[in-house]
Symmetry: C2
């Protein structure tokens, strides 16, 4: 019988827990799932529900035995964790993170990179508005995108292995991009959307019976306004410059629209709508090509 | 056998066509569906597909026979249509419109209101990004909201009849509100969302491989960026003041967020996120109460 792969998940929140469930669900790789979480109740729950095979509140021997370590920690916690445990990782282990910003994290981890391990930085483009192990669910990864931002020292065989494992967990596409491209794109496609959702719902006025009037559009636009405040504050501030740039670009467009309305410039308004329609249609086409 | 109700639909676009299909689908009211559309091909298609029983390119005898007239015309067309045909409506007929702005339209129609008819102004909170009869679909009305903005002269029995008919067509809630409340709320829950979607997608930079990076959030936020340019230009300009007010409120919130990011004020950022989360949770609760 093939020896199982020891996979450690550090941080059993909604993402870490979802990795545990997805690893349990797949049949391609025989695995033993080891969980580390500072919360004893979470470890207890994860063990009882069968998400992990072994659990520790602080690392005792899990990292020493793990062939793959998946760090599902907050940006503020991950650097400290690697620093503290740098001598405990198994020789030849693959380490990966799931942090939603990359440049800043890579920069901080590179100088403290443990010897003899291969750290592949990554970001699953999937998640949930609800936080905590209880909301973990293997299905959130289904057909989602995964971005890896390789560094020079990464071994081709490890990149291949991790890519295949992620696809086995349900991810549809696993792409490799440079860290700065990742951060620019994430600022635009994800962080800016969260800024808009939060600002939109916060701009509602007191005393309005809004719920009685909303349709699908408002519901969709504010879905991500239910947001993990500590996590997203960190993500925003770790990606400050990129986020401010896309916010500026958004403002420019918002003002064009405002000006057209103020001056009742129907032609300009139509032009903005037509541009948006063309862009959305081309996104849908590209989307269906990528999905197909 | 009960005499069928003659229902005229004026304008067989995606909304008018959807009314036709929904009327065909229901069994409660025996109906005869009469369609008026200036496009001969649309009338031909609607007749051939069985959406309408009778069709005219300009009114010859349809309005004279219609017990109920549903005007599914653009804001710019509706006033002229009522004016032109004011002597052709059947005595005692109920007329209703489906325009997405109300105050401005009511104001223009009141002085030219035909004698002997009961005009009940309304707005189905449902629609599609695609336009034209081909995209008409009875299901778009399923579980959607409908707003009526009654005027003093409306007869209670006609309001009751129209409300019941709309529910028969699939609408879940039919509410009566004042026209100015309607316009303020629509500016916020619908028009502002469209401004954000359009501005967001238009702020994307040339040459980016955006499609490869987008997740559900960006897809949802830009869904309505595919927009009927002539219709929405009219809707925005007919509701100019209300829209500019909610855009100002949005800007205030956007700036609070921007300032917090620029000054790396994590506490303020967290505060904005927590406020947004509380509002979204309360919307979801109200939503499930209303749906339940």
């Amino acid at each position: 019988m093939e020896k199982p792969l020891n996979i450690a998940i550090v941080g059993l929140g909604v993402i870490g827990g979802s990795f545990a469930w997805a690893l349990n669900k797949q049949n391609k790789y025989p695995v033993r799932i080891l969980g580390i979480d500072h919360d004893a109740d979470t470890i207890k729950q994860a063990l009882e529900e069968g998400a992990i095979d072994e659990g520790e509140i602080i690392n005792e021997k899990i990292l020493q035995n793990a062939d793959l370590v998946i760090l599902t920690l907050y940006p503020s916690a991950i650097v400290g964790f690697v620093q503290t445990h740098r001598d405990e990782f198994k020789k030849g282990a693959v380490i990966t993170d799931t942090t939603g910003v990359k440049g800043n994290i890579v920069e901080q981890i590179l100088p403290i990179l443990p010897d003899g391990v291969d750290f592949i930085f990554g970001h699953p483009m999937a998640g949930k508005e609800s936080q905590g192990f209880t909301y973990a669910d293997a299905d959130v990864f289904q057909d989602a995108n995964y971005l890896l931002t390789p560094i020079e020292s990464n071994k081709e065989e490890n990149l291949t292995f991790l890519t295949d494992l992620l696809k086995t967990l349900g991810f549809k596409r696993v792409r490799q991009v440079e860290a700065h491209v990742h951060d620019e794109m994430i600022a635009f496609v994800s962080q800016l959307s969260h800024v808009l959702a939060v600002s939109l719902i916060n701009s509602d006025q007191e005393g309005r019976d809004t719920a009685a009037f909303v349709g699908d559009t408002y519901r969709e636009l504010t879905r991500v306004a239910k947001i993990n405040a500590p996590l997203w504050s960190e993500l925003f501030l770790h990606n400050k410059n990129e986020l401010l740039t896309v916010m500026d670009n958004f403002e420019t467009q918002f003002y064009l629209m405002k000006q057209a309305i103020e001056t009742e410039d129907e032609a300009s308004l139509m032009g903005l709508f037509e541009e948006a329609t063309a862009r959305r249609i081309s996104l849908e086409k590209a989307d269906s090509k990528l999905q197909g």
